[in-house]
């Protein structure tokens, strides 16, 4: 059996090219592990037939020396990406039977590079959530547990399934999306690398929209190099997406330069928030020492409007979502609750098809856009956003990258009751400002807390500054050293 637990994407790519193993063996191994890992609930749809046929095609090409860039690499896809002829649910009841007749641009890029699809991954419904608990298909469970504690923990969200699949070695890598932290936060909770590209770097065509001006795609992987490899395939200009940027995609993998002497790293005081775990704060300081020891220059910076990013986000994101989700009306696709009256059909279909968090955010978004409130909320939030963006622009005059913790805490209990929605929202505090400014950011697993749970450090870059993030991130990775995989408590006997 191939030891997939201890292979990263790069090693798999090399192994296939070196003919150390065949794609079909590899895929069968993964499918087997996935089958035994139902307790993790990482998958909404597994696609064994497709995976096997794609693997056979890959083996064929490899044998003829006609390999594409990522020939035979087994991936799984967040269920927000439309995959042709494969059910795509967005984690929602309303799309539980939806089968797209089209392929998203990003997944098309990956299949064109030779990747193999294992299945579609669990996520918070319509990407709205920070714990994967709003999914219609039940929460995904974090492979990590506290020392001597059986309590199931959240993997983070919204890309919970994507993080779990990598952390639990159920895929070589996964795709995910990030609107307020939905790649980075689950990556941080699960000890994986989560990269959100610059807004406009990856195409949004075929990705179910949550908040159009904030949504951006990115990979979740075991290592930084893997992340670079994945992003190169995922990224690129798309004429079908008017917010896509026409810039060539660098070879991120070969551009990684671990010599970071003289790189200026900004440390923003505003991220030293009140709710920050002591272990995480210490880990941040460790990160600073590592980079210093590698020759980077550490500079204290200020991002004065940081604390306003989250409330502004919770006006803008629901507003855009309330409009983006209007198309889910039971008319052309999705679940319909049959009624004699049209408006009743709309309302009952949507109320039945959408979960509580989605309904709450739609109502919130409708409210802030409605007559009389637009200026006070939406306009105010967009102005705040400009100030947040200006803060970053100013900072990047003096630094090359910014380093902060990714999350204020480590993974919390599944089913933890929050007094009110706002407390759940606070999980995104350190990640949201990045989306508001459209910048790239990566979360690197940087240590384990006293309970043995993963912590992550976030690096924020200039627009299209992904190269710096991969380089500096690799250094953190090296300094941190490898940590072991989580114990496989979830294996079905």
């Amino acid at each position: 059996m191939i030891d997939i637990k201890n292979l990263n994407l790069k090693q798999i790519r090399d192994g296939l090219q070196n003919k150390s193993f065949k794609a079909i063996e590899l895929i069968e191994t993964y499918l087997n592990e996935i089958d035994k890992a139902k307790a993790l609930n990482a998958f909404i749809t597994v696609t064994p037939d497709k995976a096997i046929s794609m693997a056979k095609e890959s083996d064929n090409r490899i044998s003829k020396n006609e390999s594409r860039n990522l020939e035979g690499i087994p991936l799984s896809i967040k269920d927000l990406y439309c995959t042709k002829n494969v059910r795509t649910t967005a984690g929602s009841k309303i799309l539980k039977n939806f089968i797209p007749t089209y392929e998203s641009t990003i997944t098309n890029n990956l299949w064109s590079d030779g990747c193999v699809m294992l299945g579609k991954l669990n996520n918070d419904e319509f990407a709205m959530g920070s714990s994967n608990e709003t999914s219609y298909f039940g929460p995904s469970i974090n492979p990590w547990k506290r020392k001597n504690d059986d309590m199931p923990l959240v993997p983070g969200g919204s890309s919970g399934g994507s993080a779990v699949a990598v952390s639990g070695s159920l895929s070589a890598a996964t795709t995910a999306t990030d609107t307020g932290g939905s790649i980075r936060q689950p990556a941080s909770f699960t000890g994986t690398v989560g990269m959100k590209a610059t807004y406009g770097r990856c195409s949004r065509w075929g990705v179910v929209a949550f908040a159009s001006s904030l949504d951006q795609a990115g990979p979740i992987t075991k290592t930084v190099v893997d992340s670079a490899i994945m992003l190169k395939s995922m990224a690129g200009y798309d004429v079908k997406d008017s917010t896509s940027i026409d810039l060539s995609v660098p070879d991120y993998e070969t551009n990684i330069n671990k010599n970071i002497k003289g790189k200026r790293i900004g440390i923003p005081g505003e991220y030293k928030i009140k709710g920050l775990d002591a272990d995480i704060e210490k880990n941040w300081e460790d990160g600073i020492s590592w980079l210093k020891s590698e020759g980077a220059e550490i500079i204290d910076i200020s991002l004065p409007h940081t604390k306003y990013a989250l409330p502004a986000y919770y006006i803008i994101a629901p507003a855009e979502a309330s409009s983006n989700l209007a198309r889910y009306d039971g008319v052309r696709y999705g679940e319909r609750v049959h009624r004699k009256d049209l408006d009743e059909m709309y309302s009952d279909s949507r109320s039945d098809g959408f979960g509580e968090e989605v309904r709450r955010r739609i109502l919130m978004g409708t409210y802030v856009l409605s007559a009389g409130y637009y200026d006070a909320y939406y306009l105010k939030a967009q102005k705040t956003r400009k100030l947040i963006s200006n803060d970053f622009d100013n900072a990047f005059n003096t630094v090359d990258a910014i380093m902060t913790p990714t999350t204020p805490t480590t993974a919390f209990n599944i089913g933890k009751k929050f007094d009110d929605p706002v407390t759940m929202y606070l999980n995104d505090m350190l990640t949201v400002p990045v989306n508001m400014a459209g910048l790239p950011a990566i979360s690197i697993p940087s240590g384990l807390d006293k309970d043995g749970l993963p912590m992550g450090l976030q690096l924020i870059g200039k627009r299209f500054g992904e190269d710096d993030l991969f380089s500096i991130g690799s250094v953190i990775e090296d300094c941190r050293g490898t940590f072991s995989n989580p114990a496989q408590w979830w294996i079905e006997k």
Binding site: H305, R332, Y333, K340, K380, R385, P421, G438
Partner: protein
């Protein structure tokens, strides 16, 4: 500005979401706590700030006027709950 039950009902109608009587109170209080929390934005002076509606510092790409799409009737209808002869069917609307 607080969101009372009347407003909840109004926005529920605008967004075509059915809100039952027992849900209204809970929703009203949840939405109110969110609104109260976001109102901290009033602490900032944004008088001369230009609102930022996009993360992209670009202008719109214009597409050439050629017919490049359509004629995919089966794809369009394939996920529909109710169709007939190429039409989507919905409960009757009386104008």
């Amino acid at each position: 500005m607080s969101i009372d039950e009347k407003i909840v009902k109004k926005i529920a109608t605008l967004s075509r979401i059915t809100v039952s009587e027992n849900e209204i109170t809970k929703l009203s209080s949840e939405l109110n706590s969110i609104i109260k929390w976001v109102e901290q934005l009033n602490e900032i002076d944004t008088t001369d700030v230009v609102p930022m509606t996009s993360n992209v510092n670009n202008t719109l790409h214009l597409r050439k006027d050629v017919i490049s799409d359509g004629n995919i009737v089966d794809d369009i209808l394939s996920n529909a709950p109710m169709t007939e002869d190429g039409f989507f069917l919905v409960p009757k609307v009386i104008e």
